[in-house]
Amino acid sequence: MSNAALTPHSSLLSTHSPAPLLTADRVTRLYGDRIGCVDVSFSLWPGEVLGVVGESGSGKSTLLRCLSGLDRPTSGSVAFADPAGLIPDIFALDEQRRRGLMRTAWGIVHQNPRDGLRMAVSAGGNIGERLMDRGDRHYGSIREAALEWLARVEIDPARIDDRPSQFSGGMQQRLQIARVLVSGPRLVYMDEPTGGLDVSVQARLLDLLRALVRDLGLAAVIVTHDLAVARLLTDRLMVMRNGRVVEEGLTDQVLDDPQHAYTQLLTASVLAA
């Protein structure tokens, strides 16, 4: 892993603002004697999409939980560039402030929509929750925002009062995305966003994600084991194995010219990426 691979490509750099949005510094999470992830460091610039790939148990989800504030790292820090000023370590904040950021500054799209949605609450209520969290108290405007976001994630707005349990898996995933994006975060974490969906639904979801990320100028960290998803969505790629980053670089570069033996194995084992 050369040092050059750690910084974004110069042509990409020109489109980024100079300060990174997110900086992970030697993030380590241990579960007793077991390793979650070890010494993961990287920076993410505004508008950039970073993919994290690796096999099951490689520490991808653990890393995502640490970055997104769900789980406190054993050591290391996560810095975030809030519009109000740089936060050197989100885990040094008190829990109230951190939760506030988790709702407004970034969002998390869970692998299983049941973890990210209130299943007993209608689609409109799910999308409106973040608005109500931040103090919106006008039913009409909350509903309007919900209708708008349903349309943006390609769910029939007539289904605003249906519950997620009445939705298909793909619709639930899109609803989760709407629920996260409604409050206008600058960064989105996605854990296997296409997991458990059939191929045609995956394709539609990927199209949607690509359009949203581009239109909203979102930065994203996408955890996936699917190299095709990584190829389609991400600018940069980190390959993880046994809790460590084994290779990092521009997505095409990593996928087309893998340097690390494990990455070579990973790319070679894909049927048609």
Binding site: E95, Q96, R99, R118, V121, S122, G124, G125, G128, E129, R130, M132, D133, R134, R137, H138, Y139, G140, I142, R143, I160, D161
Partner: protein
């Protein structure tokens, strides 16, 4: 004034300490009460005691009453607005026996009113204490089952999920369908459950001259609204809070401003609406107000020994 037939109250039983609880326990409850009054709407944990009736039957209210009552107090107890239901009668007899205090059914004569499910119709005055029996003190419980989590939500004023509940009501029914235990914001700070009173009574809590104390025996929580405190029922700007309305006045006393219970009178669809506050209704009838069914069989069944 009242024509009520009540079984005679037992005399004070000197075998019990005044108001049943021992003095140390009363002090503990009073400390919790002081804290509750100092932080309006905040749920203060307290060491709820075993009482000689089942938890869920008003043990929290009884412990609060026992902690604040003195020999000169006059106690009124209502259950669903009525003075003559089993629970109300039993609790009144209990305090007559263990504290020897005077009891009354007249709202204005009472210094302490212990209540379940209602606030009396007659406006309360300064110096009066309203003690609520509370089954579930946590307004967020249905939304969040973890106590650790609800405490954080209160501490941080994190009340978004409560509005999700109201949103769901409006989306499904066109209005907020919650009719009792309607959540309120106390003193602009804590969201509080008003206990299962109908939302009709919520406005009475706002800027009340009386001290309002809430005791939850099973859940071991005490909270309070001091006199002259702002109490706002949660709502949306474009869906303001509203109370229940009825198409007809009370069938016994013709009151159009009170909370009415629906009473089924036969198996042919006959029904009547009567005041739930029995003392208020009797007072109006004494003053000459006559409802549609007063004097009929149905009316007589509900007016005890009048006429």
């Amino acid at each position: 004034m009242q024509k009520t037939v009540t079984s005679p109250l037992p005399p004070r039983d000197e075998a019990y300490n005044f108001a049943y609880l021992d003095e140390a326990t009363k002090r503990m409850v009073r400390r919790a009460l002081l804290k509750a009054v100092a932080v309006p709407g905040y749920q203060v944990p307290f060491g709820s005691r075993e009482m000689p009736l089942a938890r869920g039957w008003g043990t929290g209210g009884i412990q609060v009453t026992a902690a604040v009552i003195g020999p000169d107090d006059t106690l009124k107890v209502i259950d669903q607005g009525a003075d003559d239901t089993t629970n109300a009668v039993s609790i009144r007899r209990f305090f007559a026996r263990v504290a020897g205090v005077a009891t009354t059914e007249a709202t204005a004569d009472a210094t302490i009113i212990q209540t379940r499910h209602r606030i009396p119709e007659a406006p309360l005055e300064a110096g009066q204490i309203l003690v609520y029996q509370v089954p579930q003190p946590e307004p967020l419980r249905k939304l969040e089952s973890s106590e650790a989590e609800t405490r954080k939500m209160h501490a941080w004023g994190d009340y978004g999920p409560m509005y999700v509940r109201l949103y769901e009501d409006i989306a499904r029914f066109g209005h907020v369908a919650t009719t009792y235990s309607y959540p309120v914001l106390v003193n602009g700070r804590y969201v509080m459950s008003p206990s299962p009173i109908p939302k009709f009574d919520n406005p009475k809590m706002h800027m009340s001259a009386a001290l309002q104390l809430f005791g939850a025996g099973r859940e071991k929580r005490i909270y309070a609204i001091p006199p002259w405190t702002e109490v706002k029922s949660l709502d949306f700007e474009d869906h303001p809070f509203e109370v229940q309305k009825w198409d007809e006045p009370c069938a016994l006393c013709d009151a159009a401003d009170s909370y009415l219970d629906e009473v089924i009178t036969d198996d042919l669809g006959g029904r009547m609406f009567v005041c739930s506050d029995t003392h208020y209704c009797e007072g109006r009838r004494d003053a000459g107000h006559r409802g549609r069914l007063l004097g009929t069989d149905a009316g007589r069944a509900l007016t005890r020994n009048e006429e």
